[in-house]
């Protein structure tokens, strides 16, 4: 019987694949949406002495973008973020995830820095609280500090406009 175990395992993987490929996991909402941003206290990437807490950020609608210098897909979305920051439509806060300070800084120098500032989450603690399961991810937080939307993977111009900016304007109106 034990000789059939490898085949059984293989069959299970194939079955999961066959079913999984026909489903759209984006339909399952993130459990964090509608919940307040988890509490944290993290240093800034640029200034290790300055620490930021969740409370410091309340009072404005903003985006948190999870990025890392080792992340290839981040390079793909980065020009869009730089452009978004130039238009000043919404404040952008970076969360530098499981990275090293010099590498992260060099990366921003090379590709441009669209962030007001970046939180430095070397241990990935906030990442765990936010349910980050890969880089990049982007979160929309409203003025009361509640997570309103989450996107996994690199952003596109279409997603920024349709999913994020429309919501940003909506929440800015409701809070203002």
């Amino acid at each position: 019987m034990r000789f059939a175990i490898p085949f059984a395992l293989f069959a299970v993987v194939v079955a999961f694949l066959a079913v999984g490929l026909q489903r759209d996991p984006r339909l399952i909402p993130s459990p964090l949406i509608g919940k307040p941003l988890p509490t944290f206290e993290l240093p800034k990437l640029s200034a290790p002495a300055q620490r930021v807490t969740a409370a410091d950020l309340v009072g404005q609608v903003y985006l948190i973008n999870v990025w890392a210098s080792w992340c290839v897909a981040c390079r793909e979305e980065h020009p869009l973020l730089v452009e978004l920051a130039r238009q000043q439509q919404v404040p952008l806060i970076g969360m530098n995830y499981k990275d090293e300070r010099p590498a992260a800084r060099a990366w921003l120098e090379r590709h441009g820095n669209p962030y007001r500032f970046s939180l430095f989450d070397a241990a990935g603690n906030l990442g765990i609280d936010l349910g980050v399961y890969g880089v990049p991810e982007t979160f929309l937080i409203d003025a009361r500090g509640v997570i309103r939307y989450k996107h996994v993977g690199p952003l596109s111009q279409e997603i920024i406009e349709k999913e994020f900016l429309t919501r940003v304007h909506e929440y800015e109106r409701s809070s203002g």
């Binding site: 000789f3 293989f10 999984g20 984006r26 290839v72 880089v135 991810e137 996994v152 993977g153």
Partner: protein, 660 residues
């Protein structure tokens, strides 16, 4: 005319592959010697036609025949000849053709160096290799034909991807493929053994040299890939844990487990299930690797969407090979696979631990590689799992492996006394402590604990391996003479193990003490990194055959003494419109000085990346030692003597039958 000859040769090769796989298999099942004997000539004829097809495609590239779609997409009349030839395997269709050529060459090698093997067994081996060839030839002819024409012909080609225009990339893919495809031999041996019901130590002895040779080529291929990434991508990184690298690393890990498991099967008739499963795993991962690396089919769902035929074919092919092999294992395994007993204090235990650790390592890399791809396929978006995951899971797995690696070779087969082994290991333990004390002063305080840990593991392996050699020599009467009469497999094993330790030293040092600086520099500017003074001497325009470049010259001095002059280039490839960096490197065993040119800034200054990389050469030196160790081990007389003994036995039988 030439492309049509190539196309026709492929079709003929397919027909011959069908003969090669069907007839000998039926012959082996029914005991028909004539049908079995067809395997060898069919394999050789198939090889001939595959090679003809390959030469035809190479000819199209050399002659700049841009009416062939594949040539037009991957070459240009300004491309230098050497790159026109390497462009044959520069993209999906051609690399498949290279794969089939290498498979055919391995098959022919098996057909020649297998005279001592039982006819039914070799018929089944060649038949399985023929089946694999059928899969690839069908894939090529129906979805990825390199000989398709596009008439009227394009005026000129759109050039080879500049990333691939590099001497390292001329030999890297063939090396890698020789390794990948070489595991098909072990796979075919395992399948033939399962079908025939003969999986014993003789079987393992036949399979070992083939597997070790394949593993050596794969080791070289991976090292070349790492070296190429280091000097060509301009980041100075030597390993990125990206899907393409992992694709070659997974079969290597499984293959490493396989060659050790095979050794135990040969010597002691144990771990047959492990050995067979690892042979299946190594080859399955090689197939996965082939499709991940060049085809671009599995690396991105978008490629899937544009050409679903290829993706579906690949999934079905992988499913048939892996599913078929595992079904056979489930069905025939209980009857063929059993094992001898061994005690806890025996070398078998250490080899088992080795197999388990390497298998878990393979599984973690597989998970980290496929999970982002699957998530992408499932619509979850592109994400990176990235180095933090791999470093976090991989280092804890490799550390016990290195510790056990020092002990294992000192332990006897079947049964040993732990007290004897521990007494034997006192000297290497002492040696490790001495080396660590000496290294302590030389290693910088930052990160010293981690560095000492890495060095400890490496020093332990080196000391224990050297100690094992000394013990082996001492056991003989003339100790010094014994050194040259030691079995090649033991020498090879020792060289490879020391090579592994050398790589570990390189990884430890360069990961911890790599000094890296991004600066903006004008001509005449000077900057300091780790005690070296880098001066930007000049920048000038140079023109290559198919690119324009800016070449920046730097001089390096240490304590006022001029040390080296480095040239780094920023190239712009005209046809593809792509910018590439060529790093300037001054290489010594103890450190590399590395300069890569970034972008030119508005005011005419350049952004420059300067690094000092301690002991980075040891990475590749260690890999070469591992590969060399493999080649030495595979050349062991025992493997040939075994064959000679069998064939002598057979000729005796023939003589007695003629006498009778």
């Amino acid at each position: 005319m030439i492309p049509e000859i190539g196309h026709f040769a492929l079709a003929l090769a397919l027909a011959l592959a069908i003969v090669q796989s069907v007839v000998p298999m039926l012959g082996a099942a029914s005991g028909n010697l004539t049908w079995m004997a067809l395997a060898r000539p069919a394999a050789r004829a198939q090889c001939l036609f595959v090679v003809v097809a390959f030469i035809a495609l190479a000819w199209c590239f050399i002659a700049n025949d841009f009416s062939v779609t594949y040539v037009a997409a991957n070459s240009n009349s300004a491309l230098p000849l050497a790159y026109r030839i390497s462009a044959v395997w520069g993209a999906h269709e051609g690399s498949l053709l290279l794969w089939v050529v290498i498979l055919a060459l391995w098959t022919v090698a098996v057909s020649f160096f297998s005279r001592g093997l039982p006819p039914a067994f070799i018929a089944r081996v060649l038949s399985v290799m023929g089946l694999i060839s059928i899969g690839f030839l069908l894939f090529m002819l129906f979805t990825s034909n390199p000989f398709l024409r596009d008439l009227p012909a394009a005026a000129d080609g759109s050039d080879l991807n500049p990333l691939l225009q590099d001497p390292g990339l001329i030999i890297h893919p063939p090396m890698l493929y020789i390794g990948y495809v070489g595991f098909s031999v072990a796979f075919s041996f395992a399948i033939a053994g399962l079908i025939g019901g003969h999986l014993d130590s003789a079987w393992a002895r036949w399979a070992r040299p083939w597997t070790i040779m394949a593993w050596s080529f794969l080791t070289c291929g991976i090292a070349l890939g790492s070296w190429w990434a280091y000097y060509e991508l301009g980041w100075g990184g030597w390993w990125f844990w990206d899907p393409v690298e992992n694709a070659s690393f997974m079969p290597w890990l499984a293959g490493t487990a396989l060659i050790h498991s095979l050794a135990a099967t040969e010597k002691r008739d144990v771990f047959k299930s492990w050995t067979v499963l690892l042979a299946i795993a190594a080859f399955s991962l090689s197939l996965l690797g082939t499709f991940l690396v060049r085809s671009g089919v599995l690396t991105s769902v978008h490629a899937f969407a544009t050409d679903p035929a290829r993706g579906v074919f690949i999934l079905i092919f992988l499913g048939l090979v892996i599913g078929g092999a595992l079904t056979l294992y489930a069905w025939r395994g209980p009857r063929t696979l059993g094992g001898a007993d061994f005690e806890l204090a025996s070398r078998e235990t250490y080899l088992l631990a080795n197999s388990v650790l390497l298998s878990v390592a393979t599984a973690t890399v597989l998970l980290g590689t496929l999970y982002p791809l699957l998530l992408d396929a499932l619509g979850g978006g592109k994400i990176s799992v990235g180095p933090p995951y791999f470093n976090a899971v991989f280092i804890p797995l490799m550390s016990p492996l290195l510790l056990l690696l020092g002990i294992g070779p000192a332990v006897h087969w079947k049964r040993d006394r732990m007290a004897r082994v521990l007494a034997l290991l006192k000297i290497p333990a002492l040696g490790t402590v001495v080396i660590l004390l000496a290294a302590y002063a030389m290693v910088e305080p930052a990160g010293r604990a981690t560095a000492m840990f890495g060095l400890m593991l490496a020093a332990w392996v080196v000391c224990a391996t050297v100690n094992a050699i000394v013990q082996r020599c001492r056991a003989r009467q003339q100790a010094w003479l014994a050194l040259i009469t030691l079995p090649a497999s033991f020498i090879g094993q020792s060289v490879a193990h020391i090579g592994f330790a050398v790589t570990v030293i390189g990884v430890t040092m360069v990961s911890l003490y790599d000094a890296d600086k991004h600066v903006r520099m004008n001509v005449g500017d000077q900057t300091h990194v780790n005690g070296y003074d880098f001066t930007f001497v000049s920048a000038r325009k140079v023109a290559g055959p198919n690119y324009d470049a800016t070449e920046a010259r730097f001089s390096v001095a240490q304590d006022g003494e001029p040390l080296a002059s480095l040239a780094a280039q920023k190239r712009f490839y005209r046809v593809r419109g792509m910018a590439m960096t060529e790093a300037g490197i001054d290489a010594r065993l103890s450190r590399d000085l590395y300069i890569a040119l970034g972008e030119q800034l508005e005011d005419g200054a350049w952004s420059v990346r300067i690094s000092v990389k301690p002991f980075v050469r040891l990475l590749w030196l260690g890999a070469l030692m591992m590969a060399l160790g493999g080649v030495i081990a595979a050349s062991d007389k025992r493997f040939r003597r075994a064959r000679a003994a069998v064939s002598a036995g057979r000729s005796d039988a023939r003589q007695s039958s003629t006498a009778g």
